[in-house]
C-alpha cells in the first residue's frame, strides 16, 4: 500500500480529496507525519500547515486553523474550521492565497511564534515550486 485516501472538509465544503503518499499535520502536541498504514489515531490540530505529497509526487500545502484529524487504515480524515490551500497558476494568485492564509492564522489567535512558523513554511513551499 503506497498511497492512502485523504479528505479535508470545512464547514463551507470539502477542500481536498484524493490519494496521497504522505501528509504532515500540525498536531496539538507537535507536528507529526502520516504514511499509508499508520495506526489509528485521533488528534487535535493547531493552526499551521498541512503538507501533502500527492500520489503523482507533487506537493501541496494547505494552511488551516484549528481542527481534528482521524487516521485509520488506509484513510485519513481531516475536519477543520478554516482552510486556505496555497495553490494558483500564477505567482500573483499564490501571493493572494498566502495573504489569505496569514489572515486565517492570525484570526485563530495563536502565538506569534506559530504565525512565523506558518509563514516560513508557506514561503519555502512556494519557493521550491518556482
Amino acid at each position: 500500500m503506497d498511497t492512502m485516501k485523504l479528505e479535508i472538509v470545512t464547514p463551507t465544503g470539502p477542500i481536498f480529496s484524493g490519494e496521497v503518499r504522505s501528509v504532515t499535520f500540525p498536531g496539538a502536541e507537535g507536528e507529526f507525519g502520516v504514511l499509508p498504514g499508520h495506526a489509528s489515531l485521533v488528534s487535535l490540530l493547531e493552526a499551521g500547515v498541512v503538507e501533502i505529497e500527492k500520489s503523482d509526487g507533487t506537493k501541496e500545502s494547505i494552511v488551516i486553523d484549528s481542527g481534528y484529524v482521524k487516521v485509520d487504515e488506509g484513510k485519513t480524515l481531516v475536519v477543520v474550521e478554516g482552510a486556505v490551500p496555497i495553490i494558483g497558476k500564477t505567482e500573483s494568485e499564490i501571493a493572494k492565497a498566502i495573504e489569505e492564509a496569514k489572515e486565517l492564522v492570525k484570526k485563530a489567535g495563536v502565538s506569534d511564534f506559530a504565525i512565523a512558523n506558518v509563514e516560513a513554511k508557506v514561503e519555502s513551499a512556494t519557493k521550491t515550486r518556482f
Binding site: 472538509v9 470545512t10 464547514p11 502536541e29 489509528s40 487535535l44 482521524k70 485509520d72 475536519v79
Partner: protein, 294 residues
C-alpha cells in the same frame, strides 16, 4: 374626464409595483440556489463530524459505565435557566416567515415561564429584535446581519458565549429556534436542543483497531469536538434559515406579482368602461346640440 386620468395613473403605479415584486422574486430565486448549495456543501462537514463524535462516544460508552463526566452531555440536569437562541431574517416581505418563528419562540417562553424557569433570549435578525424590543422584552444578546450572510466564525463566536455560560453553570439548557427550509414551497419550524448534547442517540461505530488519542484522554477531545458540533449546528441553522427565507420571499413575491396582474386587469376594465361612458356622454351632447339648432 378626471376619472379617466386617475385610473390611468393607478394602472401605471400597480404595474410599477409588479415590476418590483417580479424582480424581487427573481433575486430570491437566485439567492435561494446559492443558499441551498452552501447548505449542501456544509453537510459533508456535518457527516464527518458525526463520524468522529460517534467513534469517541463508542469509546466512552465502552470504557466507562455511565458515560462521560462532561457537562455538555449530561441529560438529567435540573433546568433553572434556559437560553433560547432565535433566528429570523433581517428583512420582511417574506410572508409569515418571521412571524411564525416569533410565535414559536413566544410559545416556548410561555411554556418555560409556567414551569418557573428563567428564560434568556439570544436573537439573530433585525425582525425579531425589533419585535421583542417593541414588546419590551429583554434580550441577552442580539446580532444584525448574521442571518443575511452566515459566517462560520461569527456564528461560532455568537453561540460560544452561550456555551461558555452553560459550561460555567449559568444556564442549564440551550435551545435553537428557527424556520427551516423544507422544500421550495414550504418552510418548517425547527426547535432544536443544542445543549446538553444527547450522545446516546449517536450511532456508535465499532472499530477494527483501537485508537490512539492525542492529547491523551478522550474527555478533552470529546469536549472540544462537542463544541465544534454545537458551533456547526448554529451555523447550519443560519444557512437553513437563509434558504427558507429566500423560498418564503420567492413565494410571497410570486403571490404579489399575481395579485398585481389581477388588479391591473380590474383597473383596465374600469378604465374601458369609463372611456365608453365619456364617449357616450360626448355623443349625446353633440346630438342634442344639433337638435337644438334645428
Amino acid at each position: 374626464m378626471a376619472n379617466l386620468k386617475e385610473i390611468k395613473l393607478q394602472i401605471a403605479s400597480v404595474k410599477g409595483t409588479q415590476k418590483t415584486t417580479r424582480a424581487m422574486k427573481l433575486v430570491s430565486q437566485a439567492k435561494l440556489k446559492r443558499a441551498e448549495e452552501l447548505a449542501k456543501r456544509s453537510r459533508v462537514y456535518a457527516r464527518k463530524l458525526d463520524e468522529l463524535v460517534s467513534e469517541i462516544a463508542y469509546e466512552i460508552n465502552q470504557n466507562k459505565v455511565g458515560g462521560s463526566d462532561s457537562r455538555l452531555v449530561q441529560q438529567d440536569l435540573p433546568v433553572r435557566v434556559v437560553d433560547i437562541v432565535c433566528i429570523t431574517a433581517d428583512k420582511g416581505l417574506c410572508g409569515g416567515f418571521n412571524v411564525s418563528t416569533l410565535k414559536t419562540t413566544l410559545g416556548l417562553i410561555r411554556e418555560y415561564k409556567e414551569k418557573r424557569v428563567q428564560v434568556r433570549l439570544r436573537v439573530v435578525g433585525r425582525k425579531a429584535i425589533d419585535f421583542l424590543k417593541y414588546n419590551g422584552m429583554e434580550m441577552k444578546d442580539e446580532v444584525i446581519g448574521l442571518s443575511a450572510s452566515p459566517d462560520y466564525k461569527q456564528a461560532a463566536d455568537f453561540i460560544g458565549e452561550s456555551m461558555k455560560d452553560f459550561i460555567e453553570e449559568k444556564t442549564d439548557r440551550v435551545i435553537l429556534v428557527y424556520n427551516g427550509f423544507k422544500n421550495m414551497l414550504a418552510q418548517e419550524q425547527r426547535v432544536m436542543q443544542l445543549l446538553p448534547v444527547d450522545i446516546s442517540t449517536v450511532e456508535p461505530r465499532e472499530l477494527k483497531s483501537s485508537i490512539e488519542y492525542e492529547p491523551e484522554g478522550y474527555e478533552e477531545l470529546l469536549n472540544a469536538l462537542l463544541q465544534k458540533y454545537v458551533e456547526y449546528s448554529m451555523y447550519y441553522g443560519l444557512l437553513d434559515s437563509l434558504a427558507a427565507e429566500h423560498s418564503a420571499r420567492m413565494q410571497a413575491m410570486d403571490n404579489a406579482t399575481n395579485n398585481a396582474s389581477e388588479r391591473v386587469n380590474e383597473l383596465t376594465i374600469q378604465y374601458n368602461k369609463a372611456r365608453q361612458e365619456s364617449i357616450t356622454t360626448e355623443l349625446i351632447e353633440i346630438i342634442s346640440g344639433m337638435e337644438a339648432l334645428k
